[in-house]
Amino acid sequence: MGQTIFEKLWNEHTVSDLGDNTYLLYIDRIFIHERTGSIALKGLEAAGRKVRNPEQAFACMDHIVDTFPGRTDETRVPGGSAFITTTREAANAAGITVFDLGDDRQGIVHVVAPEQGISLPGVTLVCPDSHTCTQGALGALAWGIGSTEAEHALATKTLVVKKPNTMRVDFDGELGFGITAKDMILHMIGEHSASGGGGYAMELAGSAVRNLPMEGRFTLCNMAVEFGAWTGIIAPDETTFDYVQGRPFAPQEHLWDQALAHWKSLPSDADATFDKEIDIDCEKITPQITWGTSPQHETGIDGVVPDPADEADANRRKSIERALEYMDLTPGMPLEGIPIDAAFIGSCTNSRLSDLRGVAKILDGRKVAEGVKAICVPGSSQVKKAAESEGLDKIFKAAGFEWRESGCSMCFFAGGESFGLEERVVTSTNRNFENRQGPRTRSHLASPTTVAASAIKGCLTDVRKLEK
């Protein structure tokens, strides 16, 4: 019987079968960042343990660094600079490469790792960050772990992992005008819930995935964790290989040929079977927007705020009631036209060059509505540089957007900068949890183009109408 890409990678990385469906897996690449990696490095030091193969581990400064021009180690996050300096000192002492402030390779870990060619098809890659699944888009087995597991991976180059079940999601059909990868993944979570991924290793497949450029694939895999999957993975193809070739840490010359031959053997065999399969009809997908405090609380922009009374399941009903109270929305209210206070473009979900190009196309010749605070934080220093060389920064600024240095920024509130109390934000990020972007901040997740259109109109807006 054929094997899935997941099974091929699992078998290839198995150091030891520990019995009872538990395996010791070899880890090819380890990333850390200053927020949760600092404690892992400190833990290793305290235990007198060394990092094995530090040349295959990397550290990014992204989570709590300031994104204002001229930034230093000082940050608006209380106590934040200690996370930065601890990570730098411990990583340097361990011989780990740091993509530090001021380094033009700095940026959000899940943007930087693929950009530098460090994550590759077929690798196992872990990081103490839940959105590590983003990198599954390259055909890598990439998943988020805790700080203790990060210590384990750094010290031993392995992790003890229970083998998850497998799932395939088939995205078929053509995407309509103005529909993006973000709309695909939000739609799927809305249909199948934030726990629909059930801890599965999920392969994202189908014609609509094949047709996505690499950056859209990152967006799709990014929110596998919001779906409750163990991780997401997309089989590598020519799109992947074209993306990887020539990147600084990617294999070159004869090693490239050898790697490429190997990568071409990775896609799931035609007769491979999955424990679960679901189909998504992409023709039906409209621009998606969340109305609540879980990514599953979402609908099309042409939809209305749901009535909890229509929900049969008591737990879900209570969750909707709580969410509507937090979001200050009433059942039946059309989502289109709800006034906003702020718009945010950034995060490991949607901050890459193609995202910024899409937004700039909408902003060009237009102005952000009066009273709307609009911020763009490019996903990496490289993305920022590339955007500036195309003049995108000028379009953003002329429209009234702040143009920042790269980092995770206001995707989450860490005690520093935030949106105001009870402000309503339309955001290209991945989490609309209570208090996620600030105290009582009300977050509506959407695609970058929906965020841009809404910023222009000053209210939640159907991007398809604006472009016409």
């Binding site: 150091v15 030891s16 520990l18 019995g19 009872d20 469906n21 538990t22 010791l24 070899y26 927020r35 949760t36 404690i39 295959q56 996050v77 106590g79 200690a82 996370f83 601890t86 590759l120 103490p128 839940s130 988020g144 772990i145 805790g146 203790t148 597991e149 210590e151 384990h152 010290a155 031993t156 180059k157 003890v160 229970k162 934030a194 726990s195 059930g198 801890g199 964790v225 919001e226 409750g228 163990w230 840490f249 090693l255 050898q258 790697a259 190997h262 879980s294 737990n315 879900r316 209570k318 969750s319 989450f412 509130f413 005690g415 989490r431 949890f433 208090n435 996620r436 105290p439 009582r440």
Partner: protein
Amino acid sequence: MEKFVELTAIAAPLLRINVDTDAIIPSREMKRVSKQGLGDGLFAGWRYSTPGSREENADFVLNQAPYRHARILLSGMNFGCGSSREHAVWALHEWGIRCIIAPSFGAIFYGNCVLNGILPVVLENSIVEDLARQVETNPKENNITINLERCIVTAPDNSRIEFEIAPADREMLMEGLDAIAATMKRDDEILAFQARDRLKRPWIYL
């Protein structure tokens, strides 16, 4: 790591679905590079009445008299979803929680629990709700017992419910193992793997 074999304690019902790790420990409460000092920030957004304050919200379950001594948490499906921050588990542990019973857990959170002496127990939602009903009639006296050796939860009405846990996780919790030390014993296997792999996939070795 502290061992978990058996626990009899007060259980606090927090029957919400999709309780995320941002809710368990808001990022703003992670003030130092440390696993300590996090208990005070546990559920800060719900436990305290206004953002940033320490004024208790009387409606929140852990602020109510008997539940202040809870060692067990009952919750809805997908508990611990979201961010990988292990601080969520460290905060729960410091506050006093040693066992969480829910219909399902976020995968990273589940793993973090097992590595920090907190037992995650998966039971059907209807059973969790029944346990909560029993507890609520007399929270101080109606304790729940969890025996990890036999994988049995004993409800206040003395009914016994079996649960499943991966043998490796059970051993980790019962023995309080140091996972790194355990893996280090297999170092020969790891080095042999690396030597073979280096020939097979040389491009991996930067």
